[in-house]
Symmetry: C2
Subunit: 290 residues, 2 copies
DNA sequence: CGCGATATCTGACTAAAGTCAGATAATGCT
DNA sequence: AGCATTATCTGACTTTAGTCAGATATCGCG
């Protein structure tokens, strides 16, 4: 019936009217949209004036005036940056925080209303995640963090859950060789998480030993972010990090129940090698010289 | 990691920036956004001034001026409505059509670009359909049309495809009692299609015989529109139409491989009855007195 | 200290969008 | 025909957003 482009355009029309509705609900608090956006940016932790300007794409003169008007309303206060008095930092006052929270409530209620009128809200959320990951593709960031950080833990939990679903015999982390977190933190290794706005959508661990050999562990991409070549990007970034750490040879184990992963390794310079550990889950082993 | 509301809000942020990008690409043709929107509304067949005003939510004075500026550019011409000279109708000139098509090209290319950078564009499209159906929920319309109309045929083809996937023995329309289209057109019956913007997302047929008994056939809701209570709405509307046609008793057949349908019938006043036909596919039979 | 670079602000504009009170003309109804 | 209603238009205005050229203050560095 409808070709692909028409379907995308129907989607665009649908969200345009919905987004417009959000904007006009923001107008209800008697403040122009520009000022409301600045207040919200500050509320969400963007304190540096340059950072706000950059985030909202505003002219420096315009932002300066908007900040002044929020200051006159008593919602924010600005002070000089402590190590550089040319820069200014903005902070919400008590009233500003109250006003910011009113905007937050509007946004949250809008979101809740949408979910409430859908009887299958889990499938709606999954679809929203997928579309958002596609739209945010260019702004996805790979962040190095501890495997114990919340975003990293989230990815690992999803990863284990997925293995449990995919392996016919299930998956129990405690039976697998769970790497010590310290081996995936510099200087021994690294742990990378792909962040798409606030959502962690993928991860990979480089588990070093201090020597010239290291292992790739825990490569995972969220279902909502598949098809965006994130796996490849994670692997390339992990390999660069390995080179920085003077690692010469990388190894990894995987399972033939994860064919996408195997395909990725084969097409990016990895070579199949014999089993090199006694972990019960993997049945395929790869190596790559850097 | 992220609760439902945060996920919706991430989605909102993602589409807000995307919509902004579409808007600014429209600016490239040297015309303010307001004028471009009016031109596009006219190009998409909205000719009545009041209709445009309503669709775009514009003040009458503002729209009047925008129409004047498009007229001065030679892109549209307005004439009095033929049955009511107070109303005006706008129409694209040859140049206007060319300009409209330039905007169409921009939108189409934007959509294609998004799809092209996604390696699983079919899953992206399915997600977009689902989100759009949810957002457009309040604007979904039930349209009575011939079962031979394109939108109706689309629904029927999807319906047959779904039966083929769901029934363990497959499904072949030619073995089933395919109702004559005329039995689902007034005055004998009706055929309803749920339109969500341009996408047909559900259908139902009321197959009459001219007498007091009629059958409900071809109830289908698109996967992207499930959870929106569309099935129930289609059934209620078909029942109202049946009452209008002085039908006293409705019957239908279904299959236990379609549990959602059976559940819907059971919770809306239908009673299980013995088999009343020799169609090989159904194994459940219902009746409802109006 | 002096000087070019940097961050923000101010002033003076313009363009776009939106508001609102009539003006104008056609229509429907008695 | 008379008159309230309806659809659109015009004029006069305000608000919001955005641009741009300097002004001001601070910083980093030789």
């Amino acid at each position: 019936m409808l070709d692909a482009v028409s379907r995308v355009r129907r989607f665009n029309r649908a969200v345009t009217s919905e987004v417009g509705a959000l904007d006009s609900s923001f107008l209800g608090r008697g403040r122009p949209l520009g000022a409301a956006r600045v207040l919200n940016a500050i509320g969400h932790g963007r304190s540096d004036v340059a950072e706000i300007r950059d985030y909202l794409g505003l002219d420096s003169g315009l932002l300066s005036r908007l900040l002044r008007s929020l200051e006159d309303e008593g919602l924010i206060e600005t002070t000089a940056h402590e190590d550089d008095a040319r820069r200014r930092v903005a902070r919400l006052t008590r009233n500003g925080r109250r006003e910011f929270e009113a905007y937050e409530t509007i946004s949250n209620m809008q979101a809740e209303r949408l979910l409430a009128r859908h009887a299958k809200s889990e499938s709606l959320l999954a679809a929203m995640d997928l579309v958002a990951s596609a739209l945010l593709q260019g702004r996805t960031a790979l962040v190095e963090m501890s495997p114990r950080a919340p975003a990293a833990r989230h990815c690992l939990a999803e990863y284990y859950g997925e293995l449990a679903r995919r392996f016919s015999q299930g998956f129990d982390v405690s039976l697998s060789r769970d790497p010590d977190a310290r081996d995936m933190i510099r200087p021994r290794g690294v742990f990378l998480v792909a962040m798409s706005d606030t959502l962690p959508v993928g991860c990979v661990g480089l588990k070093g030993s201090g020597g010239e050999a290291a292992e790739i562990k825990r490569l995972w991409v969220a279902p909502s972010a598949r098809g965006l070549r994130l796996g490849r990007w994670l692997m390339e970034t992990a390999e660069s990090a390995a080179r920085e750490l003077s690692i010469k040879v990388l190894r990894l184990d995987t399972n033939s129940a994860l064919p996408e992963a195997g395909q990725l390794y084969r097409t990016s310079g990895w070579r199949k090698i014999p089993r090199f550990n006694d972990d019960p889950y993997p049945d395929l082993f790869f190596e790559k010289h850097l």
